[in-house]
């Protein structure tokens, strides 16, 4: 009888502790996630973000919901690479471009659209050597390895017109990187 009562008390205590732990978990995550993603830079939001940052990065809770905002991508653009081989010949290697793919292929290659957008941004220049190395590996043969990779961004600015009509602007280009391929890059 006494043991039953003790077990009952123990279970009640455990249930209360569980609810308390869940409540703390909920309050922490609601506050932390809200502070992380709302686009306000007034106290206490930046401080809260700084505080939870290590946990959010570790657990994968970081997030941004800025779909096409604040500014949508302002130009049509793509990246291609000029590959110069050891024998002096050259070829152009284009990233998969969604507008040139079939509907099915677009589903499979959509990640290239995102990736191509990312590497066009100058702040992501740390990624360019890796991209150049990958293109060198894709385009090399043992007899004729790639010697130089030139990453080029092509763009055509979108200019809104009052009547909503659209005329494509001429294409312009911007060299992102010239990379000298080393033998170890092709391993």
């Amino acid at each position: 009888m006494k043991i039953d009562q003790e077990n009952g008390n123990h279970r009640k205590w455990f249930s209360k502790a569980t609810i308390l732990a869940i409540n703390l978990f909920l309050i922490f995550h609601i506050v932390a996630i809200t502070c992380w993603c709302v686009p306000f830079n007034i106290p206490p939001f930046p401080q809260c973000r700084k505080l939870v940052r290590p946990y959010f990065l570790w657990a994968g809770l970081f997030q941004a919901w800025d779909m096409f905002a604040p500014t949508p991508w302002p130009s049509n653009s793509y990246v291609e690479a000029t590959v110069i081989y050891k024998d002096g010949s050259r070829t152009t290697w284009p990233f998969p471009r969604m507008e040139q793919l079939s509907l099915t292929d677009r589903y499979f290659k959509e990640r290239y659209r995102k990736f191509s957008e990312v590497i066009q941004i100058d702040e992501n220049d740390t990624l360019w050597p890796d991209v150049a190395r990958h293109i060198a590996r894709l385009n090399s043969t043992p007899s004729n390895p790639a010697k130089t990779i030139i990453l080029i961004r092509w763009y055509s600015v979108i200019i809104p017109r009052p009547d909503g009509s659209y005329y494509p602007e001429p294409w312009d280009r911007h060299v992102l990187l010239g990379y000298g391929v080393r033998p170890e890059d092709l391993q």
């Binding site: 570790w58 994968g60 809770l61 905002a69 507008e99 959509e110 590497i119 740390t126």
Partner: protein
């Protein structure tokens, strides 16, 4: 004011802890699992190009650009094609088991860890839909996602029947929905933050933002009628999108408006799916709409389907 403060804990407890049918979270688990499987199938042809030892972005560069301790199995497993491919098959197997609800809790943990790992391994190819799946996956680990529509629930029932036990099935047991609520909150935050980001943007406020979006060649999927592309129509469409994002972020919690807003949101995402080439994004977000459906309505719809099926079988 004092009265409101006094009723707050009650409302909080009712919202997070009042037991309800686990049907919505179980249905969401199935949709979530299917979306993870679809994501993996679409990634498969370029799996090694994105995550392999000779990928577009090396693990070392990724760790330099995005430093810090993170859940990332790629930092632990050997960097060989064989191991990276094995990772794919484990991830896919676990996603299938999660979908059918076998060892649901364990598989929800494995799927979350694998999903977070591929995002951390290459953050530059993920879109908002991937992020939403990762966040929903985090809270799904804590949810009673296998309490209904799962092999975890059915196997013991079948075993008992096989043994000829006379005892009746207790039916689907009500569960505390706090983890489900967190996924719902996450979805409403997604819309609300998208609304806030847009109202801070001059391009969205003056109505030209959608002009840019629609004229991006890489994003366009199917042709849209010319009359929908006029300057005035695009302006109104942009403003309507902002208004709808506000409604789905805030007013979704008003019960009497919920189904109307879900219908509008469904229409909105389907039209985006038609116009824009963003693989699976719309479906990733739409999957969480299930969580806003009243469990009684899901049960009613399920019983209707069952009745129709059994009726047809009896007739045959």
């Amino acid at each position: 004011m004092r009265l409101a403060l006094r009723s707050l804990p009650k409302a909080w407890n009712r919202f997070f802890f009042a037991k309800q049918s686990p049907l919505p979270i179980a249905l969401f688990r199935i949709a979530y699992g299917l979306l993870i499987i679809a994501t993996l199938v679409l990634l498969r042809p370029d799996w090694l190009a994105w995550y392999g030892p000779h990928s577009w972005i090396s693990l070392q560069t990724m760790q330099t650009v995005e430093p810090g301790t993170r859940i990332n199995l790629f930092t632990v497993i050997p960097q060989t094609d064989g191991w990276i491919n094995a990772f794919f098959w484990v991830f896919l197997g676990s996603a299938i088991l999660l979908t059918v609800g076998l060892l649901t809790r364990l598989n929800s943990v494995i799927v979350f860890i694998c999903l977070t790992s591929i995002h951390q391994r290459n953050l530059y190819i993920t879109h908002g839909g991937d992020t939403f799946l990762r966040l929903a996956g985090f809270f799904l680990m804590f949810a009673p996602a296998g309490a209904a529509l799962s092999l975890d629930r059915l196997l013991p029932i079948w075993r008992r029947r096989k043994k000829g036990a006379a005892e009746q099935d207790d039916g689907i047991q009500p569960q505390r929905p706090w983890a489900q609520r967190m996924i719902q909150i996450q979805l409403s935050l997604l819309y609300f933050v998208a609304f806030l980001t847009k109202v801070k943007s001059p391009l969205w406020l003056n109505g030209t933002a959608l002009y840019y979006v629609y004229h991006l060649d890489s994003l366009r999927r199917f042709p849209v009628p010319a009359w929908l592309l006029g300057a005035t129509t695009l302006k109104w469409a942009g403003w309507s999108a902002i208004a709808l994002e506000f409604c789905l972020g805030v007013l979704i919690w008003v019960k009497s408006l919920r189904y109307y807003l879900l219908a509008l949101g469904l229409l909105f995402h389907l039209s985006l799916e038609y116009c824009l080439n963003i693989s699976l994004f719309q479906w990733d977000v739409l999957s969480a709409y299930i969580l806003f459906i009243d469990p009684a309505d899901i049960a009613r719809a399920w019983n209707g389907i069952k009745l129709r099926l059994t009726g047809r079988r009896a007739w045959e």
